[in-house]
């Protein structure tokens, strides 16, 4: 049996437009037009142990993303670093801070009030791996284990067809990629990123803090 292929979708569109009307999206809302009490702050911090990258987003309490107005006072304080203002770009604001500390404070200051969000990074760690290895042997990694926040491991290279991601249910402080995980005939560089994240959510603020370590391994077949 044959069925007209495009008609059901067309019917849905026609019905939807006849009931609700077909209009374009509403324009974005600037954060300055929303009272502070109705604004939520989502902060993401990623640290490599010496530099922390801070990203902030503002939204309404109804989860509508807000364009960050230039007048918003967003700044970050961290151990051993001067107060650093976040630079707004549309819906996001960024700052890079040199710090070895595990605690940061993001301040949101306005004429109608101020808020401070405290961000606790997971404990720092060091990843140990061979600088050079054969891909016919396991690629072994080790670090300081932490049961509270297990690590995620990601390996990227030209000798695997796609990024390899491992999320360990239980952190034993070690992992080894198997020889079968990597192919290829020539030498290749494998970049391994080991991360450990911690998230929290409050009524007007949410945070995600990540410790990220990167090691590079030169490999031969």
């Amino acid at each position: 049996m044959r069925r007209s292929p495009a008609a059901p979708g067309l019917v849905l569109v026609l019905v939807a437009c006849s009931i609700g009307g077909c209009e374009g999206p509403s324009p974005p809302t600037e954060s300055a037009s929303v009272p502070l009490a109705e604004v939520t702050l989502a902060t993401t911090v990623t640290s490599d142990g010496s530099v922390a990258v801070v990203e902030a987003r503002l939204a309404t309490t109804g989860a509508v993303p807000l364009v960050i107005s230039p007048s918003e006072g967003l700044a970050v304080d961290a151990q051993g670093a001067p107060t650093t203002a976040l630079e707004a770009r549309d819906y996001r604001a960024f700052a890079t801070v040199r710090t070895t500390g595990a605690k940061l404070f993001v301040r949101h200051v306005r004429p109608d009030g101020a808020r401070t969000t405290e961000i606790d990074l997971p404990p720092p760690f060091v990843v140990v791996a061979e600088e050079r290895s054969s891909r016919r042997a396991p690629l072994a990694l080790s670090w300081e284990p932490n049961e509270a926040e297990p690590v995620t491991i990601e390996a990227r290279s030209s000798c695997s067809t796609q990024p390899l991601t491992r999320r360990l249910e239980r952190d034993r402080g070690e992992y080894a990629f198997a020889p079968g995980d990597f192919g290829g005939d020539g030498s290749c560089t494998i970049v391994v990123r080991v991360s450990r994240s911690r998230s929290s959510r409050g009524p007007n603020a949410s945070t995600t803090a990540t410790q990220l370590r990167t090691v590079t391994v030169e490999t031969t077949p």
Partner: protein
Amino acid sequence: MRAVLPLVALVACSDVPSPLSSEIASRDVRIALRLAGTPTGTRATGTVTSPAADMRLVEGDRLVLQTSTTTLPLPLDKSSFSLDFPAYGGEVRVALARPDGRGRDVEAKARLSEPFVVEAPRAARLSAPIEIRWSGARDATTTVAVTGACVTTQRRALAFDSGSYVFVAGELERRDVAAPCVATATVEKASGAATQTTTATFEVGP
């Protein structure tokens, strides 16, 4: 707008008879073939379609499945076929064999890896490395997976098939379900639309 809706609905719901294969030129026939092999048997499934989506085989048009050892008739149900035959490795050809004067035969081929064996450890512990081994040629893309009630499902698409894969200590462990349980190791060798799959079950303890 209101006048258009019934018309559109009528077009959407109208059925027309499937065309006869004798009315369709060979160049317009498409055969899609999928093969799923295990050590106990092979299943060939697929479709034979024309530009109008499906068709009825009539007047001398025959659908057959050929391996290196046998030729079997393939029943076509609307546009779909499905046939089970013994465990097999090698090329499989599905062809629409046409009588003289109706154009060339139409075919689809797929190559299935040879059936193989999977070995899992007899008394595995989640706190120790677990090695899965398998046999057979390395002529396809190999995927190895382990599942089980007390196991965190892990699946690996291998870039290099060395005939074994080691899951490291703790990699298969689950926080919420304690061992022991029965786990299943599945190794699949895929080549295009053909997959040869073998499983092995084994006990895992903590």
